[in-house]
Symmetry: C2
Subunit: 320 residues, 2 copies
């Protein structure tokens, strides 16, 4: 997108959906001029942001994420909210597929006037996607959405990224607790504020057992619920609980504190990503990198010394 | 240590234990001249390295790591090897304590002429400690130790670091499998090549069950054994198995391949750490950081734009 087609803060604020879509495309652009326009737009809309309930939702394929998000989103709309759904899909960059690529997903939510659904960006590193999604949340808030749901799929790193940009991170599970071992091994369980055991209608006893199990192995303060997103059982109650938790945590200052920590973490993550990008793009580094890797492979240099040599080149010093 | 007291590659090669101790102290130094001398020493000894079996050992406090490492080390010495033991202790930097601070640990191994035990460095970041330990492994190899055991304590990040510098990563466990959930949640189980259930004499049935459990939940290619380090049951057999596995993996080229990958990862980790260190030390950055954090806190800037502004200052550009 050319920067001069960038939407203004005012068109975004008016709730114009195409302006929001264009704004998100703008922040996803890697073009330098577009990036500058994106930063200006973000700076202009920042005062209009921060009012939404930011929810993260993850779960293994098959846990019923789309059905759940559609049901939860409709429950939030029924309670008077406007709902935006964003996706981080780490698999899409690799496989070419996307968790939101299927047009038949969230059929009812996608046509609701109070909902906005943004499919996953089709490429980019997790770091980049993470930062873009964080900025997309702000754009959705500026466009008047007061519930923003960030969806991802359960592979570990993306959960940590989504938990780091939301107020409440929901891990969706199936009644058979067999798949919890995988989530545990990947460190995902540690991220969850709320476990939701979906498809509870299939086996209510197993679902209750799974919920108790997650309550005992999650981190302190996490809790668990059972729902059937397909039947709608428990979803309105879950929404009411989320809203209550958010209100209470806001009153206690916990939401503001969590967000302050997230912003600081995002700053450092963005600096790390940026430094590595600049390092890899520096011609003096790229010119020397192949020889340095060869020295490592053949045992002529240790990694630390090779790194220090490349760092000197990066800062414009003499060759090592 | 002043760099002019740095040991030479020749004294190190002669197996002089004080020279090895001084060399490790040298690589742990943060002084620039010492660091240069350390890099020269490492470059000189690199051709004498790489011949050792590099083992990582971790486990929760109480799993019996010291007793196990002593028993395994003595078994290796009995099989004709020279054994060095190094420790990464992420807790020591925080608590001031050290897993190897207790002088009564490994009483028999510590007085054996074929063993060298190096306590954990008392400070430094995990990144730094990780790199220093990786270099200390090379120094031990140059000094003629053909088995190097790197010990750490089970908190997650340090396991990943140790698994990234060893040929075989052993996770020590207790017969009651209760603590495996903790290890799983921290992603440690994914690092293990070999699970060793210690204290099997306390409850042989439970130990066997735990071993089977770990075999089923570890990653592909991992295996499990039971021992009693205190009684010495199964330790000589375990050492024989480790040696056989190492020999077979070497023949198949797997050790060389694993080490190549580790060296590349170490290069990039060292570059990341170095870039962040330089970034935080750059006066233009430190002068602007407080204001940037304040802009973030008060919602006047988004993290990405703030990061890009600081990165421009780092590279010597104009103020954002």
């Amino acid at each position: 997108m050319s920067p001069d087609r960038a939407p203004t803060a005012e068109t975004l604020r008016s709730g114009n959906r195409r302006a929001l879509a264009r704004a998100i495309t703008l922040i996803e652009s890697t073009n330098a001029a577009a990036r500058e326009a994106a930063d200006e737009l973000l700076a202009a809309v920042l005062p209009m942001t921060g009012q939404a309930i930011r929810l993260g939702v993850s779960g293994s394929p098959g846990a019923g994420k789309s059905t759940f998000i559609e049901a939860l989103g409709l429950a939030a709309i029924a309670a008077g909210h406007r709902v935006a759904v964003l996706a981080i899909d780490p698999s899409s960059a690799v496989s070419g597929g996307s968790i939101l690529g299927d047009k038949t997903r969230m059929e009812r939510l996608s046509v609701d006037a109070s909902a906005y659904i943004r499919p996953s960006p089709s490429s980019g590193s997790l770091g980049g996607v993470g930062e873009h999604t964080r900025e997309a949340v702000l754009l959705c808030e500026a466009a008047g959405y007061d519930v923003v749901i960030v969806e991802t799929v359960g592979v570990g790193q993306s959960e940590i990224a989504v938990a780091g940009m939301t107020d409440l991170f929901i891990l969706l599970q199936l009644p058979n607790a067999g798949d919890d071992l995988q989530a545990m091994k990947r460190g995902i369980v540690e991220c969850a504020d709320l476990f939701v055991v979906n498809k509870a209608d299939l086996d209510p006893v197993a679902a209750d057992r799974a919920a108790r199990q997650f309550e005992s192995c999650g981190r302190a303060g996490s809790s668990a619920r059972t729902v059937s997103a397909l039947r709608g059982d428990g979803v309105a109650a879950l929404w009411a609980e989320i809203e209550m938790r958010f209100r209470e945590a806001s009153t206690r200052g916990e939401i503001a504190e969590r967000r302050r920590g997230q912003i600081r973490d995002a700053l450092w993550a963005s600096i790390r990503t940026g430094l590595m990008r600049e390092f890899r793009a520096e011609p003096r580094v790229t010119a020397a990198l192949a020889a340095a890797l060869d020295d490592l492979e053949t045992g002529r240099a240790a990694p630390g010394a090779a790194a220090r040599g490349l760092l000197r080149l990066f800062r414009g010093g003499e060759d090592q």
